[in-house]
Amino acid sequence: MSARTEPEHRAADPTGRDDAGGPAARTDRVRRPGFGRLVWAEWTKLRSVPAWLVGLAVAALLTAAIGLLICGASVCSRQDAHGREVACTATVGPDGRNVTDRFYFVHRPMTGDGSLTVRLTALDASQPWAKAGIMVKDGIRPGAGYAAVLVTPGHGARLQDDFAHDVAGPAGTVSPGRPRWLRLTRAGDRLTGAVSPDGHRWTTVGTARLAGLPRTAQVGLFAATPLDFGRTDSLTQSTVHPEATVATATFDRVRATGGAAGTAWTGTRIGDTGPLPSAAGGYHRAGDTLTVRGSGDIAPAVSSIESITPVERTLLGSFAGLVAIAVVAISSIGTEYRRGTIRLTLLASPRRGRVLAAKALVVGGAVFLVGLATAAVAVALGTTLLRANGNVLAAVPPGTVLRVVVGTAALLAVAAVLALAVGAIVRHAVGAIVAVLAGLILPYLLAAVLPVLPAPAAEWLLRVSPAAGFAVQQTMLAYPQVDAAYTPLDGYYPLAPWQGFAVLCGWALVALAVATLLLRRRDA
């Protein structure tokens, strides 16, 4: 502190003018370069070192080139039941997201309001999320809106509508001697599901609102069961051997009122055969008893089951760009220490915290702009390449793509600020780059990209380390009603996008605070 005495300040005053109003103000009011001029000075330093500009250009090129290489080499290939190559396709649900819509539907038209009541006497299925029950669907097109009251072997009775919505009803499944009565009632665009153990005492599970459900919809009975993932997690890599299974549901005492009344039933296999050749399903009618066999699922799509490519695949190169950015950010402070120009900088601007703030602003701002342009180009070109190679991109709202692009730029910018702060703390370029690599890049690679760590360790790393910030790139949603691999390797981070980003911001803020403190305490 003693080095920053009043006469030195005045000597450093670039104008050399003594404008302190009177004797009382003389000790305090000294003209220092304003924050704007500090930022300008730091910007001049950044843009006048060719190696740093080259570094930023390398970061942009690496990010885009790796993304494009991956997109260019990704080819979607799928085979049908007869082993023939077929084009990859995806079904889109009413809310614009991808869905799985494959099941066996025994249906008839329903005009206007009405209700259907059945007794489910048996459900033979191996998967906890196998489904059997009553459905009202906006036609038999895959992806059409629906509401269904259903029973599962492992999760009780449910009311589900439009793929993503799931309401839990009474627990317990169907077993011999313990049947389950189901009722679905339409009133306008509202569908109410109810269940009963005996056909007298009814429990309402919930009401779904299907906007735009036409006057004539399809009503009927259905059965479906998702793939069996014979997961073996014995070693670091979990291997999956998916197999198609079949659910068999037995219904009787079918009673219809209002528009649902009728006698004839039509059996339809909804959707294609799916990623694995599965039984086509069917139904059998004997008197009042209807037996429906089906496989597939009626649920939101997850990338590990459906062959859909998430949009963030195009940005997989950002970690490599981040290495180059970290080198530039660390050099921007490390060089000042190595060459001794830090003393000149601090002489011109003795308030050290503001020097660091100006550096962070300039480096972060420059990286944000470069990152924004890079991410936008990588996503635009990468998605074009992916589509040209026959891949189906996961359908996400435009706002999500915008969040991924802006979030990637913000991720790179905040990581650059973190690297800068680490550089100011360590004051040694190699030590700083090793710290950033070990704390940010390596956890990301080990947890989210390379199949090295077991899933619990990977998730822990992506919660607490700065690498949590990469969560801002994820676009796939995990659903409790779909059993699938939701590991970081599959694109599912343990934290929500902005939560993960907040963890990275927290690290950057702490590092900046420590760096400011040390910069004030230590001699330069």
């Binding site: 991956i70 080499a73 990704s74 014995s234 490599a320 190699v430 090793v434 390379l450 360790a457």
Partner: protein, 250 residues
């Protein structure tokens, strides 16, 4: 200076810098720690773990190699950073010999650290993966010795790149990029044809094939030919480094 004195000089430089000791210890610690963590997190169903216990125990090499890279880069980078490279070259004008001496010292250091790390990882894996069946002597020796050679070759690759780049932080970034980038791309590419070729040419994934003791026949590249791919990368980097070292002013 003759070769022996050059070696002595490089060894003295390496020995008297604090970071060398830390990085050698770091190589051993990170390798054993990650290997132990992965082996400890592996749930073995009754009746043996299946899989490849040797490779699981040696997972830590993928982390320990970073300390090796930093060690190799610092052997050259510090001289450029502080300007002592000019003194070195004034005393020993034969630049090829200087680089060879550095490579020899680095190789010896990494081989020693790698041997300790690999043996400790295997012993720890033996404790943490009870009931796993170890392969025969020759295969086990190949995986263990190959892992040590892998670390040495990664060090030489880093040395060559460091001489070419002459800036420590940037060199570390380039080396880690060369190591980790291609496996990432290979993992993300959906096309198995591309995947195979990327694994065959990438220094890290090809080199680590030497650790595989179970199902080596199904790998895109054989254990020793994989290590030869990494050796090719290291030789190319050293050659490029040596050429630039001779052609440029220090």
């Amino acid at each position: 200076m003759n070769g022996w004195r050059l070696l002595r000089a490089e060894w003295t430089k390496a020995r008297t810098v604090a970071s060398t000791g830390w990085l050698v210890a770091g190589t051993v610690l990170t390798t054993v720690a990650l290997g132990g963590a992965v082996a400890g997190a592996t749930h073995c169903p009754s009746g043996g773990c299946g899989g490849d216990p040797v490779r699981t125990s040696l997972t830590g090499v993928q982390l320990g190699q970073i300390a090796v890279v930093v060690l190799a880069v610092l052997l050259v980078g510090t001289e450029y950073g502080t300007g002592t490279i000019q003194v070195t070259l004034a005393a020993a004008p034969r630049r090829g010999a200087v680089l060879a001496a550095k490579a020899a010292v680095l190789g010896a250091l990494v081989a020693a650290a790698g041997a300790v790390a690999v043996v400790a990882s295997l012993l720890l894996g033996r404790v943490l993966l009870p009931g796993s069946t170890l392969p025969g002597g020759a295969t086990l020796l190949r995986a263990a010795g190959g892992s040590v050679l892998y670390l040495v070759l990664v060090g030489l690759l880093a040395l060559g790149i460091a001489v070419a780049v002459r800036h420590s932080a940037a060199a570390i970034g380039v080396v880690l990029g060369v190591l980790y980038l291609l496996p990432v791309v290979a993992g993300a590419v959906g096309d198995p044809h591309w995947q195979r070729h990327l694994v065959q040419v990438a220094p890290m994934s090809a080199g680590l094939a030497v650790q595989v003791t179970v199902g080596a026949a199904d790998l895109p590249i054989g254990p020793w030919s994989g290590l030869a791919v990494l050796a090719g990368w290291a030789a190319a980097a050293l050659l490029a480094g040596a050429l630039l070292f001779r052609l440029r002013d220090a």
